[in-house]
């Protein structure tokens, strides 16, 4: 019984991690059809922001939940103005330019923070469940994933800003004709996506040793989650994160974590072969 609870929590945790690390990408890709290959480095930057803020004496939850998203949002704003806005509608060029940005950021972070692994201690202590020791922070990650999904869904579905953003993505000319500045809307959406990436970096910081190249650990998983999910931001991300999170955690239980990750990647290749437009390209159409 306890063991079943542990397994379920672990699977939920696996799904939550996928949701958290792909939320930023899902917003940017799902809404704007922009593929940000520097997404992993955005997350890493969020992690460094949280660690730096914490070492400067700020309380850990402020570092994780406020400093990290704000820093990365500002950075995302700059990137959008300098690079991405010239490339809207040119999917391949955006991918290439952001891949360059990703290398540039890895280089810059190596020069600033050094090629070493750093981290911060986990702020929540563990607890015991029957005979098993559980990590309290994993529960926090699950809660954060739920909160993230609710925020994204809430903003897109219920607020006026979300409505305008969705409208502008569907038909930029029409939005322009109604007097909305589409360039500004694109800018704000990209910044919001960057903020979510920063939040992911902050939340993941106590869990992983952070080094300048650790973005590569996130990018593939975030990507296949978003691409396999298809174009619907929330439902696509949730469905594919659930599928891949379960697959990778179950395989991890049966073998090792690396084999679990490989299973995740293989599952993605097979899924995209079967459903080339992603899960929401076939099912759950017309949802947010």
């Amino acid at each position: 019984m306890d063991y079943a609870a542990v397994v379920i929590v672990e699977i939920l945790y696996g799904i939550s991690v996928l949701v958290i690390i792909s939320a930023g990408l899902a917003v940017v890709f799902g809404m704007m059809r922009v593929i940000n290959l520097a997404h992993g480095e955005f997350i890493t930057l969020g992690g460094y922001a949280a660690i730096t803020a914490h070492s400067l004496g700020l309380p850990i939850f402020i570092s994780i939940l406020i400093v990290a998203p704000v820093v990365v949002a500002v950075f995302g704003l700059i990137v959008e103005r300098l690079i991405v806005r010239f490339l809207y509608g040119r999917l391949i060029n955006t991918m290439l330019a952001t891949w360059g940005l990703s290398l540039l950021m890895i280089g810059a972070m190596t020069m600033i923070f050094g090629n070493t692994t750093t981290g911060i201690p986990t702020p929540i202590s563990g607890f015991t469940l029957g005979r098993y020791q559980m990590s309290g922070y994993n529960i926090f990650v699950i809660i954060m994933a739920i909160v993230t999904v609710l925020i994204v869904y809430g903003v897109l579905k219920t607020t006026r800003a979300g409505l305008i953003a969705r409208g502008a993505m569907q038909n930029p000319e029409m939005a322009n004709a109604f007097g909305y500045n589409t360039s500004r809307i694109y800018m704000m959406t990209f910044t919001a996506g960057a903020a979510l990436s920063g939040l992911a970096g902050g939340v993941m910081a106590p869990l992983v040793g952070l080094n300048p190249a650790s973005g590569a650990n996130y990018i593939a998983k975030a990507f296949i989650t978003v691409i396999s999910g298809g174009t619907s931001v929330v439902s696509g991300m949730l469905s594919s994160a659930t599928l891949f999170g379960s697959v990778s955690q179950i395989v991890t239980f049966l073998s090792t974590s690396v084999i679990g990750e490989i299973a995740l990647l293989v599952a993605a290749v097979v899924l995209l072969r079967l459903l080339p437009t992603g899960i929401t390209g076939r099912f759950l159409k017309d949802r947010v």
């Binding site: 593929i35 690079i83 010239f86 490339l87 999917l91 391949i92 060029n93 991918m95 290439l96 330019a97 891949w99 360059g100 940005l101 990703s102 290398l103 540039l104 950021m105 890895i106 280089g107 810059a108 190596t110 020069m111 590569a216 990018i219 593939a220 990507f223 296949i224 691409i227 090792t256 690396v258 084999i259 990750e261 490989i262 990647l265 293989v266 993605a268 290749v269 995209l272 072969r273 080339p276």
Partner: protein
């Protein structure tokens, strides 16, 4: 066409001879060897991307597969030449299977790019965990993160004690580069090449004319995989060790950067891009002030924003504009204000 083909072969051979004698005067052959290998790898991606219209983000996978195929079979066979050919054939077959799966599934653009990237990552992760005793192919241990050292390198077929290394490895690699370049040029002139470019230009039209687009793309992808495998096996000979880093994201990114910088859509551009960026990387490796990756990234961003066609086409255009190729000046399209005005009128 036969005349111009002969002219091209002669030009390539002459340019090649000049470079083969000229370059070692300025740069040591150890570096030049790896530049030729990179050029070959760049050429493979330039071919499938620029002429086949297939953007593969994981060309490093076939490069690494070639290197591993060479190393593993060299340990098992003990002779270098069977592995040398296996290192071309195996990546080509894997590319055909993987490519076939993608193209027959009608995957395109982003999905293709992401899946090829994921394919590389799977290999990278897998090769990194193969450190244990149980991961053995024949007599070769895969060695995980440490890679495979100590395999037989290339030697003269008639005299196995004469190893091909140093200067001779450079001339060997450089010759192969020229041969592959001419081979791909010939292929592009052949009926298959015409169909391939037709597919790049308009898939639907090619298909309506009765060509099997999926088959053509798979074949192109396999050829690219074979060339990348060849460069991988040469790399294994040059480095005398193969490690999982051959499959890394950075390696894949570099190949893309070479092609972008040199100019996709030409065969010579990727070679030029690989040589320039490879040498830049070599120079940057000698100083510790600026991080290598930072410069590569900045070059890629700037190239996409400012020079999306690459260096080589721009150079060619510049020469043409100066009347280097003598054409009747009256036919030349007007430039500057007049051109802009005409363009506006056309719209």
């Amino acid at each position: 066409m036969i005349v111009s083909g002969a002219k091209e072969i002669i030009t390539t051979v002459i340019v090649g001879l000049v470079l083969a004698y000229g370059l070692p005067l300025g740069i040591d052959t150890f570096t030049l060897t790896v530049l030729s290998i990179y050029a070959l790898l760049g050429l493979s991606l330039g071919f499938i991307w620029g002429f086949g219209g297939i953007l593969c983000f994981g060309q490093a996978a076939f490069f690494g597969l070639g290197a591993y195929a060479y190393a593993i079979s060299a340990i098992n066979f003990g002779t270098p030449w069977i592995p040398f050919f296996l290192a071309i054939i195996i990546p080509a077959i894997i590319a055909a299977i993987f490519g076939g799966m993608l193209f027959f599934g009608r995957l395109n653009d982003v999905y293709l790019a992401v899946l090829t990237l994921v394919f590389t990552l799977i290999l990278y992760k897998f090769m990194n965990v193969t450190a244990g005793e149980e991961y053995v192919i024949g007599k070769a241990r895969l060695g995980g993160y440490n890679g495979i050292p100590g395999f037989e390198t290339l030697s003269l077929p008639w005299d196995p004690s004469e190893y091909i290394y140093g200067d001779s490895l450079f001339y060997f690699s450089f010759t192969l580069l020229l041969v592959v370049y001419l081979g791909l040029r010939w292929l592009l002139r052949s009926p298959f090449g015409r169909v391939m470019i037709g597919v790049r230009e308009n898939e639907l039209r090619a298909e309506l004319m009765g060509y099997d687009v999926r088959l053509v793309k798979t074949a192109v992808f396999a050829i690219g995989g074979g060339v990348a495998g060849l460069s991988g096996s040469l790399y294994a000979n040059w480095a005398e060790i193969v490690t999982p880093n051959l499959f890394s994201l950075g390696q894949s990114a570099e190949v893309i950067i070479w092609v972008i910088v040199g100019g996709a859509g030409t065969l010579f551009g990727p070679i030029l891009g690989a040589a320039i960026m490879g040498y830049l990387k070599f120079l940057l490796g000698q100083q510790s002030l600026i991080d290598n990756t930072l410069v590569l990234g900045a070059v890629l961003v700037l190239a996409v924003l400012l020079l999306p066609r690459g260096i080589f086409p721009v150079i060619v255009d510049a020469f043409k504009r100066r009347g280097w190729k003598r054409r009747a000046p009256a036919n030349r399209p007007p430039r500057g204000r007049r051109r802009r005005r005409e363009r506006r009128d056309e719209q």
